[in-house]
């Protein structure tokens, strides 16, 4: 189904949980809500499900106004972060429960439950109780219960957050395909940018109860509309600097300068903000286009095939992410470089300044 939120606002206990949220979601897509804890992801999901009634605004499913329709009458399934299953029922009964409520025939229930169980690789556990299963398996049962319903809308609230690292990877690989085949519209909440990028689809970035941007995931990543969006969509944290444009040059703290280039020549002089991703800050001196800087190493973290270096560059605390293993000592001075073409430019209020031409990422 298509689902549309129009200017939804929600206040509870004097705190604004959602402020003028509008979202237009197409049928059958994989949509991600990305934002830190308490940014409003769960509230939006609950509003879409009908568990919360907004103070103002409308919700439209397939064009129909369902703002006042209670959750039992809506065509929705939900999966939570805590593996929620009926503890006293077997796995089979758990998955069958929504079908029993809908009074599906016995033969149909049998067939559909087994099909979905096979899809989620839990067909051998149908007569066990959830408490006897591992965390990953319990979550698969919850997912099966959501899938078997063939609801028009499936809502997932950080379903992988309580799982082991590797289990998370496994399930994350399977999820898009699982729901694609079912034809449901999926809305998935997560706090991890990497997860959003791996799942693809479309992403809405959330900040303090408002949506900052909504679009194709890697477009939101590459073309953030403001500094807040760029920050939300960054792990490790985005490197930020305050810069000044004077004449045809940009400068950071008057010490490091580089020419403004054709793309930015027409901008007025003044203060701006700069963001660039850690993997664009490379160790060593760069080529002639690059800006070369000197920094002091705060700490170097090696992660198998990559090195994260936390640096102090002219009183800016930045992170550099480089491929390969680089052993650096605390306090050591290193050369780093960054290609100005990788800079993302923002106005002092955070709004994005779009370049006329040129590479950006």
């Amino acid at each position: 189904m298509t689902i549309k939120l129009e200017n939804i606002s929600l206040r509870r206990g004097g705190v604004e949980f959602l402020g003028e949220v509008s979202l237009d979601i197409e049928r059958g897509g994989f949509n991600i809500l990305l934002g830190p804890t308490l940014s409003g992801k769960t509230t939006i999901l609950r509003t879409m499900a009908g568990l919360e009634k907004p103070d103002s605004g409308r919700i439209l499913e397939n064009g129909r106004d369902v703002t006042n329709v209670p959750v039992q009458k809506r065509d929705v399934a939900m999966v939570y972060q805590q593996f929620i299953n009926y503890p006293s029922m077997t796995v089979f009964e758990n998955i069958a429960s929504p079908l029993r409520v809908a009074r599906t025939s016995r033969g149909d229930i049998e067939r559909r439950v087994r099909d979905v169980a096979e899809l989620l690789k839990i067909e051998d556990m149908l007569d066990r109780r959830p408490v006897a299963l591992s965390g990953g398996q319990q979550q698969r049962v919850a997912l099966a219960r959501a899938l078997v319903k063939r609801a028009g809308l499936v809502l997932l609230d950080e379903p992988l957050a309580n799982l082991d690292y590797k289990l998370r990877e496994e399930l994350r690989n399977e999820l898009p395909r699982l729901f694609e085949d079912s034809g449901s519209t999926v809305v998935y909440a997560t706090a991890e940018p990497a997860e959003a990028l791996m799942l693809g689809g479309r992403t809405a970035t959330l900040h303090q109860g408002r949506i900052t941007q909504f679009g194709v995931t890697h477009e939101v990543f590459r073309d953030p509309v403001d500094l807040t969006t760029a920050r939300i969509f960054s792990d490790p944290p985005l490197n930020v600097a305050d810069i000044v444009k004077r004449g045809g040059e940009f400068s950071i703290a008057d010490t490091i300068t580089w020419p403004a280039g054709d793309a930015h020549a027409s901008l007025p002089d003044g203060g701006y903000r700069l963001g660039f991703r850690p993997h664009h800050l490379s160790l060593g001196r760069g080529d002639r286009h690059a800006i070369n800087l000197e920094g002091t190493v705060e700490i170097a973290e090696i992660s198998g095939s990559e090195t994260f270096v936390h640096l102090d560059v002219g009183s800016h605390l930045w992170v550099s992410q480089s491929h390969g293993v680089h052993r650096l000592d605390v306090g050591q001075t290193v050369s780093v470089s960054v290609d100005p073409g990788r800079f993302i430019l923002f106005a002092p209020d955070g709004g994005r300044i779009v370049e006329e031409r040129g590479a950006h990422g």
Binding site: P36, T37, S134, G135, D164, Y165, K166, L167, E169, A191, E192, P193, A194, L197, M198, G200, H218, F221, R222, D235, P236, P237, R277, H279, E298, I299, E301, I302, S303, G304, S305, F308, H310, Q321, H323, V325, V330, G361
Partner: protein, 357 residues
């Protein structure tokens, strides 16, 4: 500081264990050197928390011995072993102020008040808690409470080892970075022996000098992060470390290399002669690149993760993944790949094999 040795440790939670399956720890022989930063890495249920509790004395092992500096501590209570442990969620004494929380272990050891004051303030400064010393511990945020837990361990000068049991579980993602870097800095400055238990490879690999990988109650490999990444000794290590994990292809080992479905893959080291058992070729997605002189493959899907892409490909009937950095091109027609021969290895029944068997 002490050297800690685990000698033939086996542990079962059952009263009368009958088979290996009843043992949470099947056989562990480990030595932790003085002042090192170690990680115990493994999935849930691999035995890492059990091992931690055996070292700290909270658990008495069914078999085997624990030695600090050559002396058995088997019969010593946790309070006597001079260890510090930071748990998954912050453990603070709610009714006390931060100061008294930190002073607590010292008062129990009968230290004099002036000395206690000095050590408490020094440790608080180390962790940035000096402004909160007079506040009640109950009112602080989760990451500050974890710092208090940590400080309670550091405040004792005679600490042999500090152990962390998945300490960043309740911490917000953007604070995890800071806390991790702080822990590492602490270790570099003070050289405590630190053992960090986690299932998160990034935490383990960034924190530790040497990582102990565990699987189903056994130690599978010990090494630096490069060792584990470049030369995994077991397919589990290959799978568990690296995101995505190592690719495995069932293959035939011949004199001139590994053969997968009739295609020859050249190797650096000579493959084992007549290996007994299931033979597989393991190579990480990072060590595969597109090259016109390579074997033909089929590209099924490209996932864009921002600074890199993961390509789902097929070699014959075998699916595998390729790691492509931002700047690497993916050929649209007739894709061919080459496996880096230095990083492609043969595994027999899961274990890495080289040369003659």
């Amino acid at each position: 500081m002490a050297e800690i040795r685990l000698d033939s440790i086996r542990h079962s939670y059952e009263d009368r264990p009958s088979s290996d399956a009843d043992y949470a720890l099947k056989h562990v022989d480990l030595t932790w050197n003085d002042g090192g930063a170690y990680a115990l890495l493994g999935p849930s249920g691999c035995g890492k928390s059990t091992l931690l509790n055996i070292i700290s004395g909270l658990l008495i092992p069914t078999e085997g011995d624990v030695l600090f500096d050559g002396r058995s501590v088997f019969h010593m209570a946790p309070g006597e072993r001079n260890i510090a442990q930071v748990f998954q969620f912050p453990v603070v004494y709610d009714t006390m102020t931060v100061y008294r929380n930190l002073a607590f272990p010292l008062r129990n050891r009968g230290m004099d008040r002036g000395e206690i004051d000095r050590r408490v303030r020094e440790t608080a400064r180390m962790l940035g808690l000096e402004d909160s010393l007079d506040r009640r511990a109950a009112g602080l945020t989760a990451d500050n409470k974890q710092k208090i837990s940590l400080a309670r361990g550091l405040v004792r000068s005679d600490v042999n080892v500090i152990m962390f049991d998945e300490p960043l579980t309740v911490i917000d993602p953007h604070l995890k970075w800071q806390l991790r870097a702080q822990l590492k800095k602490l270790h570099q400055r003070y050289s405590f022996t630190m053992i960090y238990v986690t299932h998160d490879q990034t935490e383990a690999l960034t924190f530790a000098d040497r990582i102990v990988v565990m699987h189903e109650g056994e130690v599978v490999q010990i090494g630096t992060s490069e060792d584990l990444f470049e030369r995994p000794q077991h397919t589990f290590v290959g799978h568990f470390i690296g995101s995505p994990g190592m690719n495995l292809f069932p293959c035939e080992a011949r004199d001139d290399g590994a053969w997968i479905d009739g295609r020859r893959i050249p190797l650096d080291s000579p493959p084992p002669v007549r290996p007994k058992g299931a033979v597989e070729l393991g190579v990480r997605p990072e060590f595969i690149r597109f090259d016109n002189d390579g074997v033909a493959v089929e590209v099924r899907n490209v996932a864009d993760i921002g600074r890199y892409r993961i390509v789902d490909a097929l070699l014959g009937e075998h699916p595998f993944k390729i790691y492509c950095p931002e700047d690497m091109e993916i050929p649209s027609a007739d894709p061919r790949v080459v496996f880096d021969p230095r990083h492609a290895s043969i595994y027999v029944d899961g274990w890495r094999a080289e040369g003659d068997l």
